[in-house]
């Protein structure tokens, strides 16, 4: 054997090894999830059979609904699911007690309850929303069958509750103890990758090589990071005592990150303009910024560890020490050679750079502290991730669910359909379950397809295979492969709905139990009724104000702009964090809708930067204005200008834009007059300089051609909405 052949074999072997390790990284956790789901479902089934509960399938279906790849999500979901289940049971108890004899009234009451729960689900976010979904869903699941046998209601409700709780416990225990995939890993990953990504972004965008589109998509990714960290944090608090201790630090890190992103963007935009105008200020600033960039970049290569982050923090601190002298040098160099406008622009850019360096320092310090698991630093309580809720959106989702249940219920009563009860039940379940999905009609389509597949599989298994099996264990062995196939589908993002639907409906139709009923006619009728109920809910989703439709998107944009109005008028305490988190949450929802529509809807993001920048600048402005006593005249001009800006963002139009600009100009004039050297102390001159910088920032953002276009196309009476 010659050396070349050995080398070749070695290379092949190594290539195979790297390939399989890559596979293991991505696929390993998927397969772990598949096995855990199957195991939890079978465990729930066997325990339910052992306890002789009526419907082991309820426990199994609960497992499928609750199971998530990450542990904390299961525990958090379980907690809210139990609370939602209890609420749903109580509601169905009330409904049965009131309307057991009157089917029409019962359906009306049930539809109203499901509508209410759906509205609650759309109003709140994350797990609270999930609790509402389950409140509606359980009422449909328990109330309807119980209404047919009011005398046995208590027994039915107690068994269902037991089964649901059993499913939740099985899912929780299995996912928490067997090969757990901790959320704290996800948090570390999120925090770390975001940090390096941001540093790279800061470095890369200086050269101006990144286009506007790239910047936007980058910013959207960062927004996604922010919102997902907040979501994981809320879930992880329930899972991990360690995370609970650090939760306040995470909140603070998120807040600092949002601030530094916005400041950086403002600074960058200004810098690019100065460089493009070939002004001497641009050159000086670029040099200054480059030296800061070098400070940062040293560690971008060795990113990750706590030690590297701490070193960077120290380097930034050192840079902050020399920054004032360099700023003074630039000022004195350029003092004579600049006209007034350019001087203001330079001041603004310097102010922004100073702020950026300060915020970057704080962010790096927090990051280093988090990485090294150091002592916990208390965070002020007003750093709360505020989520703006939209009552109209919630009400409309509720109305949609209400009408879906009502329509199917009316059909059931009008046709005296024996299996109508399953149809109503599933219409209710699906309207509640998908109310919060970004593109529910597509999810429902997939679900219907999954249901059909599960239905056919269940028919085959139930009537051809199961009758020849003897004992629970054999049955478990027989349905395990089917469940595994379904669980594997759920790990693929595009097929997840099909997988979930398939597993749920397979179990529903198979209905394993202590004494099984083999009645093909009943099974087929039930299956058809269920699929029809789901399809009815899907039709409602498609035709009654679809959540990814134009109305909802306009509503989101409107809400985003509303954040600026909040920034203009809300009280100061914790305002900047409230504003940033609110805007980020809305941006994230917009990104989800955009993704659901395969990337269409780019123009909604035209408001992203204007809103973030103007909002932050207004908050700064108000804070600075409160810090010193202003003259009567300037205070009046400020109030007037802020009002006109708020009016523009409330309902943009060309006229209001002009008014806002005029207001800002007036403020600028008044502030400049006040800042005359002879009329004030040095401290108030410093603050006035900051005020001037904020005003200038607002002005330059409002002058941007993007916002003009957006204003014209957003105005309802603007004449030509598609002028662009």
């Amino acid at each position: 054997m010659n050396a070349a052949a050995v080398d070749g074999r070695k290379a092949r072997f190594l290539a195979g090894l790297t390939e399989s390790s890559a596979w293991a990284r991505t696929e390993w956790w998927n397969w772990v999830f598949v096995f855990k789901t199957t195991l939890a479902a079978l465990l729930a089934m066997l325990i339910a059979m052992r306890l002789q509960l009526d419907q082991p399938r309820t426990a199994m279906i609960t497992v499928f609904v609750v199971m998530q790849p990450q542990t904390g999500l299961v525990l958090a979901k379980s907690l809210y699911r139990i609370a939602g289940t209890l609420a749903g049971t109580a509601a169905s108890l009330v409904l049965v007690a009131l309307f057991a004899q009157e089917r029409e009234l019962f359906i009306l009451g049930l539809a109203a309850w499901i509508g209410l729960c759906t509205a609650g689900a759309a109003f709140y976010r994350n797990f609270k929303s999930y609790g509402f979904v389950l409140g509606g869903y359980t009422a449909a699941m328990i109330g309807l069958p119980a209404a047919m046998h009011p005398d046995a209601f208590f027994g039915i409700a107690a068994t269902r509750l037991t089964e649901v709780a059993l499913g939740i416990l099985c899912a929780g225990v299995i996912s928490d103890t067997i090969l757990p995939r901790r959320l704290s890993h996800a948090i570390t990953g999120n925090v770390r990758s975001r940090y390096t990504e941001f540093i790279r972004f800061v470095h890369g965008s200086l050269s101006g090589s990144a286009g506007r589109h790239e910047l936007e998509s980058m910013r959207q990714r960062l927004v996604g990071h922010v919102v997902s960290l907040e979501a994981i944090r809320t879930a992880a608090v329930l899972e991990d005592p360690e995370v609970r201790v650090r939760s306040s630090m995470l909140r603070r890190l998120n807040s600092e990150f949002m601030a530094v992103c916005t400041t950086f963007h403002s600074f960058r935009r200004l810098l690019v303009r100065l460089v493009r105008d070939a002004s001497p200020a641009g050159e000086a600033l670029t040099a200054l910024y480059q030296s800061f960039d070098e400070t940062l970049l040293e560690m971008a290569n060795a990113a990750g560890g706590a030690e590297a982050a701490r070193q960077t923090a120290r380097r930034i601190a050192a840079f902050r020490l020399i920054l004032p002298s360099r700023v003074a040098a630039i000022r004195s160099n350029l003092a004579g050679g600049l006209e007034r406008r350019a001087a203001v622009e330079l001041d603004t850019a310097l102010e922004l750079l100073d702020r950026f360096v300060r915020e970057m320092h704080a962010y790096t310090k927090s990051y280093a502290r988090l990485e090294e698991n150091g002592p916990v630093v208390p965070t002020p309580d007003d750093v709360v991730f505020a989520v703006p809720n939209d009552p109209w959106l919630a009400l409309l989702s509720g109305a949609r669910a209400f009408f879906a249940v009502l329509a199917v219920g009316a059909f059931w009563i009008a046709t005296a359909w024996p299996q109508g009860i399953s149809a109503v039940m599933n219409a209710g379940i699906v309207s509640a379950l998908f109310a919060t999905a970004p593109e529910p009609s597509r999810s429902v389509d997939r679900m219907v397809f999954g249901f059909t597949c599960g239905f056919l599989t269940a028919l085959v298994v139930k009537f051809l295979v199961v009758p020849s099996l003897d004992g629970c264990l054999l049955m478990a062995a027989c349905i395990a492969p089917v469940l595994m196939a379904g669980a594997l589908l759920t790990t693929r993002p595009n097929l997840a709905g099909i997988g979930t639907g398939g597993m749920i409906f397979f179990t529903y139709c198979l209905s394993p139990g202590y004494d099984m009923q083999f009645n093909p006619v009943d099974t087929v009728n039930e299956g058809i009724a269920t699929i029809m109920g789901v399809a009815a809910a899907g039709i409602m989703f498609k035709n009654f104000l679809p959540p990814a439709g134009a109305w909802f998107r306009r509503r989101l944009t409107c809400q985003l702009r509303q954040q600026v109005v909040l920034a203009c008028f809300e009280p100061h305490a914790g305002l900047s964090h409230r504003f940033e988190s609110g805007a980020h949450d809305i941006l994230h929802r917009m990104a989800v809708v955009k993704q659901a529509r395969d990337g269409h809807g780019e123009h909604e993001f035209a408001w992203m930067f204007p809103v973030l920048e103007v909002g932050r600048a207004v908050i700064r402005l108000r804070q600075d204005a409160d810090a010193i006593g202003l003259s009567h005249q300037l205070a009046g001009a400020l109030r007037e200008g802020i009002n006109s800006t708020a009016r523009f963002f409330e309902r943009p139009s060309g006229r209001r834009l002009a008014a806002a600009l005029a207001g800002v100009d007036k403020m600028l004039e008044a502030a400049a007059r006040e800042a005359q050297p002879d009329s004030c102390t040095s401290r108030s001159r410093q603050v006035l300089r900051k005020i001037l910088a904020s005003l200038h920032l607002i002005r330059s953002t409002l002058m941007d051609e993007e916002i003009t276009l957006a204003a014209i196309s957003a105005a309802p009476s603007g004449g030509t909405p598609h002028a662009a």
């Binding site: 928490d176 757990p180 005592p241 360690e242």
Partner: protein, 66 residues
């Protein structure tokens, strides 16, 4: 101790109460141990937590049966 008791005329097993009490007890213990950093020295924290819960619950159950 009675095995079952009547809550608004519905029979509820005493074990259920014991279950709820052990959940509360475990949650308190969990907080304390998390704050003290006990979990950093444990190989499998969630298994550890589950075992502690099982111990508490079994203790309560045995106390009821006796």
């Amino acid at each position: 101790m009675p095995r079952e008791f009547a809550l608004l005329d519905a029979l509820v097993p005493t074990l259920f109460l014991a279950f709820l009490a052990s959940i509360a007890c475990q949650a308190v213990l969990d907080r304390i141990m998390g704050a003290c950093g006990v979990y950093r020295h444990v190989w499998h924290p969630s298994l550890f937590r589950l075992c502690i819960f099982v111990c508490i619950f079994c203790g309560c159950g045995l106390a009821i049966i006796r």
